[in-house]
Symmetry: C2
Subunit: 152 residues, 2 copies
DNA sequence: TCCTTAATAAGAACTATTCTTATTAAAGTA
DNA sequence: TACTTTAATAAGAATAGTTCTTATTAAGGA
């Protein structure tokens, strides 16, 4: 049974509200709009993109609020920053464990989900360095779309 | 038989010279010094750190040369950029395949080498996204040193 | 409804990096 | 070895992404 996108989004917004209350953080309109913008995108948007979209609905929103809010959403564990070597930070609101394929041509980020039962095996001596908080597999390459363009 | 550090460094500098010649790039003093600085460090230094060190031997070296040279060394496949979520890019001259443990407290980067015979298993559907050029496993956590500090 | 203060808007400031331009030096040639 | 060409450099200005400062607003408890 496939969950409706709006239902999913509403659920996540409710989670955000609860998380805010738990942390004594206020549930502001900006926080909700910015979170929704990340949560409904599958493009792993950067701050500027989020700013442009949110501004359409909230014309007075400031760039600073975007950055500040993204940082607070990160602290609340509602979104995370996707590792990349580009100057702009990119964000992802899908907190289910997954990895990423980054295209070195178009900078698109694709999600890689493990198949059921599949599990990422860590290097044997990974734990000797300290307490592991987060594991991230980045696969860099040229995506199918770009490969097609090159062929032409 | 453990290879002497200086021997290793000289070997790598020779590789750099060959790579430059192959690409029609000039073997400049700056290129060599900057490369050596990255190659002899195990701290995955950032551009500023490299600049400060190189400046001791070449007082007139410019910040721009550091960045430009690091980019050209990257193109020559003599160094690479370590993924991280911090504002400063960090560099690694060890091109043997390995992964990283990043401490979220002190920002130290530790190398994780696979044991002989060990191999990183990629997600089954990783290849469906395109041609893979590079695979990178980042493990984020709190390093032993920082854990000790916290205990005290 | 009022009050407290966390969160915000606006724009200045900052930091890492890149660009511009005149100068230097690598390396091929005479 | 000196000469020539031009890639690479130094210096500092410029830019891009992000963060800070301060006055104002609004969330949410009283």
């Amino acid at each position: 049974m496939i969950k409706d996108k709006d239902v999913y989004l509403n659920e996540r917004v409710e989670q955000l509200k609860l998380a805010c209350q738990k942390q004594g953080m206020r549930v502001t309109q900006q926080r909700i709009e910015i979170f929704k913008e990340v949560a409904k995108s599958c493009a792993h948007p950067d701050a500027e993109t989020i700013y442009e979209s949110v501004k359409e609905r909230m014309p007075n929103v400031s760039v600073d609020t975007i950055y500040r809010t993204l940082a607070s959403l990160e602290e609340l564990n509602m979104i995370f920053r996707v590792d990349n070597q580009l100057p702009k930070a990119r964000f992802d609101a899908d907190m289910t464990p997954h990895h990423h394929f980054l295209c070195i041509k178009c900078n698109e980020v694709y999600d890689i989900f493990l198949e059921p039962g599949e599990e990422l095996v860590l290097p044997k001596n990974a734990e000797q360095y300290g307490t592991i908080k987060d594991v991230n597999l980045q696969i860099r390459g040229i995506c199918k779309k770009c490969l097609e363009k090159i062929e032409k």
